[in-house]
């Protein structure tokens, strides 16, 4: 891959496969630019917010699977009647033969990392009775908590800004530094 530095001509396939990262990087860098170029504290918080939202988007784009759908199981895939122990054991038994099957089917081009064989998700996702492909729920979960923690930290930052304004009378970083030096 070190040749890529010299072969800067980007193929159409690469563009289709990577444009999501490039958009996200552009948005991230815009946020980063606001953070480092502006002296106004509220503007800095806005920049951080934009940076943060771009990171959420980066994670979410990674969780997307082609032709996939949201990871909410349809009625065909969900076992609604599994309130008793017996039935849940049945479901586990039903899952096991399938799992053995996919580990046998591991294609050669999938390099296995560690001892665990890897399998393409399409094979896995067709486990559902409906044959639907589900996108990856894990990035959604991580970002869900990150968003709420993000608003909590933003609120804390804004509270500090309000206090700074009350004590210094300004929210411009350079003016605050001058006031600090004078005192």
């Amino acid at each position: 891959m070190s040749n890529d530095l010299w072969q800067l001509a980007i193929t159409t396939e690469q563009f289709k496969g990577l444009y999501n990262y490039w958009i996200v990087i552009f948005l991230m860098m815009t946020g980063f630019f606001i953070v480092i170029s502006r002296k106004n504290m509220i503007k800095t918080v806005i920049g951080l917010n934009i940076f943060q939202t771009s990171v959420f988007l980066l994670y979410i784009t990674m969780g997307k699977v082609n032709n996939g759908t949201a990871p909410i199981l349809g009625p065909e895939d969900a076992h609604h009647d599994d309130h008793s122990h017996d039935k849940s054991h049945d479901a586990e038994h039903a899952a096991h033969p399938f799992l053995n099957q996919i580990s046998e089917q591991t294609p050669a081009q999938n390099v296995s990392v560690g001892n665990e064989p890897t399998a393409p998700l399409e094979v896995l996702a067709e486990a559902g009775n409906s044959g639907l492909i589900y996108s990856n729920p894990l990035p959604s979960v991580l970002m869900l908590t990150a968003i709420v923690v993000g608003i909590a930290t933003t609120a804390l930052a804004l509270a500090l800004i309000v206090r700074i304004r009350e004590d210094y009378g300004t929210i411009e970083e350079d003016e605050i530094l001058i006031l600090d030096r004078e005192s």
């Binding site: 909410i72 122990h85 968003i147 509270a159 309000v162």
Partner: protein, 155 residues
């Protein structure tokens, strides 16, 4: 905001539905998109809208700050308490499988099976989401009260 009758009337009409939607998102989060985080924010935004339109004293009459303060801690307690309860029942911390019970899980009315109480994992997730929802609602509302309280006193 007294001079904006349209804003007042529209928000008066909308607020009950926002609250209802928040509750739906909270308790339907296991089946559709949603959960404690979203529900907390939606419930808080309904109360914040009320505060913005009708004034902070009106909002504080609906949700008194001293109660909201207690709810901040209550949500975390509900969450951690679920974990402690599973430990007392003999499982690991937050291992919801030990919450499995066979009390009123489903009843049959006229040949139709109705699910009454959630069981096992489902019950654990439900309790945990309730805890998250309470904390998020209370924190968002408290943050709004703090900021809004500054405004009135510094003018």
């Amino acid at each position: 905001m007294n001079s904006f009758p349209i804003v007042r009337i529209v928000s008066k009409i909308l607020i009950p539905y926002i609250l209802l939607f928040g509750l739906y998102v909270q308790f339907h989060g296991d089946f559709g998109p949603g959960g404690g985080f979203q529900a907390g924010v939606i419930l808080a935004s309904a109360l914040i809208l009320y505060g913005l339109v009708f004034g902070i004293p009106a909002a504080k009459a609906v949700a008194p700050p001293w109660i909201v303060e207690k709810f901040i801690a209550l949500g975390v307690l509900v969450y951690a308490g679920t974990g402690v309860a599973t430990m007392l029942l003999g499982g690991n911390f937050l291992d919801y499988d030990v919450l499995e019970h066979h009390f009123l899980t489903e009843i049959t009315v006229g040949g139709q099976t109705l699910h009454m109480l959630p069981s096992g994992q489902h019950l654990g997730i439900f309790l945990v989401e309730v805890g998250v929802g309470i904390t998020v609602t209370a924190v968002m509302l408290m943050i709004f009260y703090c900021f809004a309280g500054r405004e009135t006193s510094s003018e």
